[in-house]
Amino acid sequence: MDKKKLAKQMGVIALVIVLFAGLDIGIYRLFIKRVISHHSPGMQKMSVEVGNYVPFTGSENVFSVKDADKLEGDIPVIDGAAALLPVYAGFVESIYPESSVIYNGETYDAASAMHYTNTRGAYKDIVDGNADIIICAAPSDEQLQYAKDNGVELELVPVGSDAFVFIVNAGNPVDNITIDQIRGIYSGKITNWKELGGKNIPIAAMRRNKNSGSQTALEKIMGDIPIKPDYTALFGSPIGFSFRYYVTGMLGEGGVKILTINGIEPTPETIADGSYPVAGNIYAVYRKGETNENVKKAIDFMLSPQGQKIVEQSGYIPLSQ
């Protein structure tokens, strides 16, 4: 009798151990294994290291001009999108006094005239008065509403452009996509790569946080078509989106492939001549009625031949092209 009871108890203990082991192995394989290599030395190199784009450090990633007039007096606080960090780091190095940039090795000091808070933070900061100029893609409807609710009108001055690109894993055989197919994928009508001439694998339609620059760009492509949440995303082969230079320049394009859209590759030429269908402006954004004259001076510099050269050298498309 005791032996039977003991066997039963041992069986229960073994079952509980096996169930936990199965659950934990499942969590590891599904959630962790897919991103763990991000922390390998190879993937670390792909991360956007803010420290590589700090002005006045002699960084080879920051392009600036030496003979531009420096701003004096009330130095405007500048901020912007991750993808555009090289551009405004170049502007800052060209016309800001070196003493106005305070970088502590990991982040910019609150007292620094250059910040880096990404698109969502930058649009909030310009409305709240924590930044005076931001360099970003177009704002989302929600960001415009936030400005309106706070009685702030934003002026958007185009200072360059770049392509919005769709990316897949380098091993995905699909090379091209159409705008209608993009709308089909993100509205949930197209769910398998075989519908695009690829393998019989579900499409994991990845998206970004609301109000990020690239998510706003996707919403503009979708128009009135609602973006459907993809609950099966973990099990498919992914498609994602970003800005061209963020993929090719800042992240080195390792392991990903940019799709042509309607057969057009996003090159400086096709973006400049408008043949690539989803190019978008880069804006210098400031508050309407801004009284700090240095804001106008800074934007005038961005639009000048010197400023446009920085846009081009940083990997984006200048206005003059």
């Binding site: 009871k5 509980v16 959630f31 962790i32 991103v35 990316i167 894993n169 963020y246 992240l251 990903v256």
Partner: protein, 45 residues
Amino acid sequence: MKDKTFIAILAIIMVIGIGVTAGLMIHGYNLWKEISIVEMIANWG
């Protein structure tokens, strides 16, 4: 095995199991937060 001993062993296993599961989920969530969409696609064919 006495019932009390059995329950105690089971409780210890449950506590360890739930702890490991929660730890893995927190670790996984932290990794996912850090990775960009481009890196994710590069990793995840």
